[in-house]
Amino acid sequence: MTREVPARDTGLQQERTALAWRRTGLALAVGALLLTRLTLDTLGTAVVVPAAIGLVLAGWVISVTLRGRRYAAAHPDEPSFDRILWDGRVPAVVTLVTASLAVGELLNAVVQLLRA
């Protein structure tokens, strides 16, 4: 079976996707720093843990997507697949961390609501 190879880089898909990953990495970093600053009073030194996890993940997301040929390993025989998404592992980790940030903040809000 032959595939119609799309014109390379139509619509700058790879660049747009790489930029979207970087925006998300930066948003994660900002989120981690904001969380650190605003929960410093309630959590004390324990705040280092979520902050470190968030910052490390943000750095990892940015560095993974800065690597030029991230997708190439999946498709060595098809140049048009140069940068296609390898699989769902990175999205899964990013989802897990974002969801745990939300759960943490949700628990915090519920505890405060019960105390108020």
Binding site: M1, T2, R3, P6, T10, G11, Q13, Q14, R16, T17, A20, W21, R23, T24, A27, L28, V30, G31, L34, L35, L38, T39, D41, A74, H75, P76, D77, E78, S80, F81, R83, I84, L85, W86, D87, G88, R89, P91, A92, V94, T95, T98, A99, L101, A102, V103, E105, L106, N108, A109, V110, Q112, L113, A116
Partner: protein, 132 residues
């Protein structure tokens, strides 16, 4: 003609197998677009969580109870957005691989409802504060 190694790589080593176990590789542009949609939802979730944290930490002058309620609604909406990011990515990628129509965006209404509810809480709490 694609080499056999290509199809093996596409189906065997990639996770989750629920997505990559069946179907054919879609046009890479569509997989990349699906990836960007996922990232947009993640950023939406992160923004909602950031606002929830800020509401929790700053004083809005609407009382601690309303403020915690507002933070809780926003955090819950952020949770929905991030879970939907993953679920939507999986469902869309699977549909594209199996050449089926794309799933709808029904979970989006939950995020709309969450943001609207947060607005209602803020308005009601502000009005009550103003009256008392």
């Amino acid at each position: 003609m694609r080499p056999a190694a290509y199809d093996r790589l596409v189906t065997s080593k990639r996770w989750p197998t629920a997505v990559y176990g069946s179907g054919r590789e879609p046009d890479p542009r569509f997989s990349l677009a699906n990836e960007r949609t996922f990232l947009a939802w993640i950023r939406t979730g992160l923004a909602l969580i950031a606002v929830a944290v800020a509401v929790d930490a700053l004083s809005l002058g609407i009382g601690p109870r309303a403020q915690s309620l507002l933070a809780g609604v926003l955090a819950l909406t952020g949770l929905v957005a991030s879970v939907h990011a993953w679920r939507g990515w999986v469902r869309t990628e699977t549909a594209m691989r199996e050449d089926r129509p794309l799933p709808g965006n029904a979970a989006g209404i939950l995020v709309v409802a969450g943001v609207a509810l947060a607005g209602v809480v803020l308005v009601v709490a502000s009005v009550l504060r103003g009256l008392s």
